[in-house]
């Protein structure tokens, strides 16, 4: 009798053989292929900018399961080693797997005990190779990653997509952030922003995302990385304004419409 492993009927089918108890014959079993087809629990945009002392990064704490807001306390930004900060949007479980890979990378780096430590450039390169390699095997990690950091006074900010496209810039944003936040940043970002100005700029971007991105929630964190290290703020929410006159009674000029 075939053994069925069905987690989800949409997977490809694989056939393989398993030995049965009496030892001299084999059974045919069918199992679902483990290749990624689509993401399940997802995080929305990450927005990040370089500023005077390093890099500032913002993300909300939501984990959506399709159109359901399933998780409201997910930290999508994590410190990596001494010099880097990783933010992820996309599939949360794939982000957690990437954190496990990076844990091993940082552990091995520390075990050398040679005074050297992986900088943000190296971590970004490693992540690019991992993402590209998975794309080559047609089993991508469904994330867009933002890697920021400071080492020896030099700030670094880069991004990698799920198919391995990577680049650095003074400001980056994933998902909806690329469409809604980047234009604001292109207009208002300048070199040597103070911490307060940087936070204000990020909050401006996050507010726009809150109004216009259906999967954004009003519970965000801002992370800062400088030569001294990483600090992730406590979660907080932004003030929003819903009393625009034209939105108050939208059908006032055209009864019966919506």
């Amino acid at each position: 009798l075939p053994v069925w492993f069905s987690i989800n009927a949409d997977y490809f089918f694989l056939q393989f053989t398993i030995p049965i108890d009496n030892g001299d014959s084999v059974k045919t079993a069918e199992a679902d292929s483990q290749r990624t087809l689509y993401p399940y629990v997802t995080g929305t945009s990450i927005v990040a900018i370089k500023y005077k002392d390093g890099v500032l990064m913002a993300s909300d704490m939501g984990g959506s399961y399709g159109s359901t807001l399933r998780y409201k306390n997910i930290e999508r930004m994590k410190a990596i080693g001494k010099h880097s900060l990783l933010g992820a949007s996309g599939e949360i479980s794939d982000f957690q797997e990437i954190l496990r890979y990076l844990d091993e990378l940082v552990l091995n780096d520390n075990m050398w005990d040679d005074g050297n430590s992986l900088g943000p450039k190296e971590v970004h390169n490693y992540l690019t190779r991992v993402m590209y390699n998975r794309r080559n095997k047609f089993n991508p990690l469904w994330n867009t990653l933002v890697l920021g950091g400071v080492k020896n006074g030099e700030s670094y900010l880069g991004m990698v997509s799920m198919i391995g496209v990577s680049f650095e810039d003074n400001h980056v944003a994933t998902g909806f952030g690329n469409h809604l936040a980047r234009p604001i940043l292109r207009d208002e970002w300048h070199a040597d922003l103070s911490f307060e100005d940087g936070v204000k700029l990020l909050e401006k971007c996050m507010r726009v995302l809150l109004y216009r991105d259906r999967s954004a929630i009003n519970k965000l964190q801002i992370a800062k990385i400088t030569e001294e290290g990483v600090t992730v703020s406590q979660p907080y929410s932004l003030k929003t304004f819903w009393e625009f006159k034209a939105f108050n009674n939208p059908t006032a000029g055209a009864e019966g419409s919506w």
Binding site: F13, R135, N178
Partner: protein, 223 residues
Amino acid sequence: MTKQHANWSPYDNNGGTCVAIAGSDYCVIAADTRMSTGYSILTRDYSKIHKLADKAVLSSSGFQADVKALQKVLKSRHLVYQHQHNKQMSCPAMAQLLSNTLYFKRFFPYYAFNVLGGLDEQGKGCVFTYDAVGSYEKVGYSAQGSGSTLIMPFLDNQLKSPSPLLLPAQDAITPLSEPEAVDLVKTVFASATERDIYTGDKLEIMILKADGIRTEVMELRKD
């Protein structure tokens, strides 16, 4: 159970245009610095030009992740060559290596559109142009990428390449001086930027001569 189709593509086109022109004792390699995806701009400051050897400079547009991987492979092969032969690879040698590397992935290609420029063993400029699977040809000038269809006809008009059917074979090296060639490159990019949405932001030009490499940067329209 019908086979599911993937809803993601392993390829993307990050746009951009690359041009190279060979002269009697120089080679000009130029590319814009815009990196796009779909209708969005990812960054306005991404270099598509990479020095592989002293006399061989590669410029590639297309899918940036494949381009980066291709460059890494070529860089590492060049390092091995240097260890084994105690000298830099010549441009024609690098040209053959690039062709072989591309064909190696004939059944899952590098989505990269390459122009290799440099100086040959006699010190004359040489340009090699490629398709995604390694088919290549030594030419006097070439354009690849999203703006290539706008630029190539104009270069044909200005640089009057002799027919490859002529016997004895005639060189397609341009008689233009180096400043004239650089000016021509700036002109073609300014024009391509007007009509190709994926070309713009900045133009990076590398001029290779026997005594070294010089780089020039020119602003392009950002819309």
